[in-house]
Amino acid sequence: MRVGILALQGAFIEHKYTLDALHIESFEIRQKKDIQTEFDGLIIPGGESTVMGKLLRELKLFDPIKELIAQGLPVFGTCAGLLLLAKDIENDDKLHLATMDIVAKRNAYGRQLGSFTIEENFQGIGKIPMIFIRAPYINSVQDDAEVLATVNGKIVAAKQKNQLVTAFHPELTQDISVHKYFVEMIRRKHS
């Protein structure tokens, strides 16, 4: 199994370390030639969604990646990655890959002083530590998108078919259960 990590900007190396702990092979995606060979899953990391959205387009990665997700490539977006996948963002006109039926809110907890950590339940896993950094949350899910975790009544993790998103950063903690969950999604697709 090979998982590509979008490495245009942000905390991509942390995802690599987490996949290393799970003994999953990964590689960085920085330009179009990096996705010429086949791969089994994609991680879109935290960072600034404006930067990644712009670079996706200018480096000609936008269409091929959108196409791969539409064809069923398992994808996992954290924080900015969630925003890139959302079909609607309440407080931003600029949308990006827009493949997942969720309505997100950017910087939903305000500026850095609003960043926090908490332990909450994640469906099918149990209580896990969640780190929110200038994070978004999900206002609502549509269609067959399902809620996987909430914090204080706000949706912070969701899944729809091959797509998994979290508003928090599992890659910043020692807990590898959400990545394991994603790896399982990839395995199930192949079986």
């Binding site: 490495a7 245009l8 900007q9 942000g10 905390a11 991509f12 190396i13 942390e14 920085r30 330009q31 935290g46 960072g47 600034e48 404006t50 930067v51 712009k54 670079l55 200018e58 480096l59 924080c79 900015a80 931003d92 950017r106 910087n107 305000g110 500026r111 850095q112 002083l113 960043s115 926090f116 950590t117 780190i131 950094i133 200038r134 950063h169 910043l172």
Partner: protein
């Protein structure tokens, strides 16, 4: 609790990695920077090149001006306070700045003490010329480090020197035997635990950016290849002929910093770079402020 805050603040710097933080003086410039792909902006009244030209005492920017920039963009906004001026820092915290740069670019307010950054909830980034300075700032509570470089010159030589120095010292400590760490802690005037972290991990405990004198996509890529995790660009953008294009090219150079073919494309037709001053021609060495 305090430690958890430091972790969160360190985490924000992790989200900025692989990105470019740009100096801006107006909401319009901030919007240009955001559209060009800046991962954060540094709001200040005058860019370092103009501070250098104007001389005199340079202070924290007008909070109204900073608020204007906060309202203009959705990315993190940073601002500078003077070294040791904890009241300026309190003011910046009160307006909910995302990151405070306790910066040698402004005139120092204290010749001996830096700000006790553990007393704050907002994160701090500080400049460093060598590993000792970097670890001392981290011990005071900095959640991110940048090289000092020589701001406002368009000359990358000092940023290169500082980054090489930090990396060289990290390599030296990594290769030491554990019983030698005690002496290094004495030599660098920092707690043993911090030196031990460097020994075991081969890196700083916080994110390390390059800053000071970066003017071209090639400069930015050079700093990344030397081990920077991202780049601050100050005067280099809005003192150049075509700020929009140059800013956008520097952002892409940081993402594909190892691909010379891409860098060649990006370096084309950027218009005039900032003129710059060589390090021998400057009278004021900002990097010597605050050790």
């Amino acid at each position: 609790m305090k430690n958890e805050r430091w972790e969160l603040n360190k985490n924000l710097a992790q989200m900025l990695k692989g990105g470019v933080i740009m100096d801006v003086t107006t909401p319009e410039q901030a919007k240009i920077a955001e559209a060009a792909g800046a991962c954060a902006v540094m709001a200040l009244e005058r860019i370092p090149a103009d501070i250098r030209a104007a001389g005199g005492v340079s202070r924290m920017s007008d909070p109204k001006m900073i608020r204007g920039i906060q309202a203009a963009v959705s990315i993190p906004v940073m601002a500078k306070c003077r070294i040791g001026h904890f009241t300026e820092a309190q003011i910046l915290e009160a307006i909910e700045i995302d990151y405070i740069d306790e910066s040698e670019v402004l005139s120092p307010a204290d010749n001996k003490y830096h700000i006790d950054k553990t007393k704050f909830n907002v994160p701090f980034v500080c400049g460093a010329k060598d590993l000792g300075e970097a670890l001392r700032r981290i011990n005071e509570g900095a959640a991110m480090i940048r090289t000092k470089g020589e701001p406002g010159t368009g000359d990358v030589v000092q940023a290169v020197r500082h980054m090489r120095m930090i990396q060289r010292e990290i390599r030296r400590i990594t290769s030491m035997s554990e019983d030698e760490i005690f002496d290094v802690a004495k030599e660098l005037q920092v707690p043993y635990d911090l030196v031990l972290y460097v020994h075991e991990n081969g890196k700083l405990p916080v994110v390390n950016f390059a800053a000071g004198g970066v003017a071209t996509p090639a400069d930015a890529a050079l700093m990344m290849q030397l081990g920077a995790e991202g780049v601050f660009v100050g005067s280099g953008i809005f003192k150049s002929g075509n700020p929009e294009k140059r800013a956008s090219a520097i952002v892409k150079a940081v993402t594909n910093f190892k691909d010379a073919k891409v860098l060649a494309e990006l370096s084309q037709d950027l218009g005039e770079a900032m003129v710059g001053i060589n390090e021998q021609e400057i009278e004021l060495l900002m990097a010597e402020r605050g050790k």
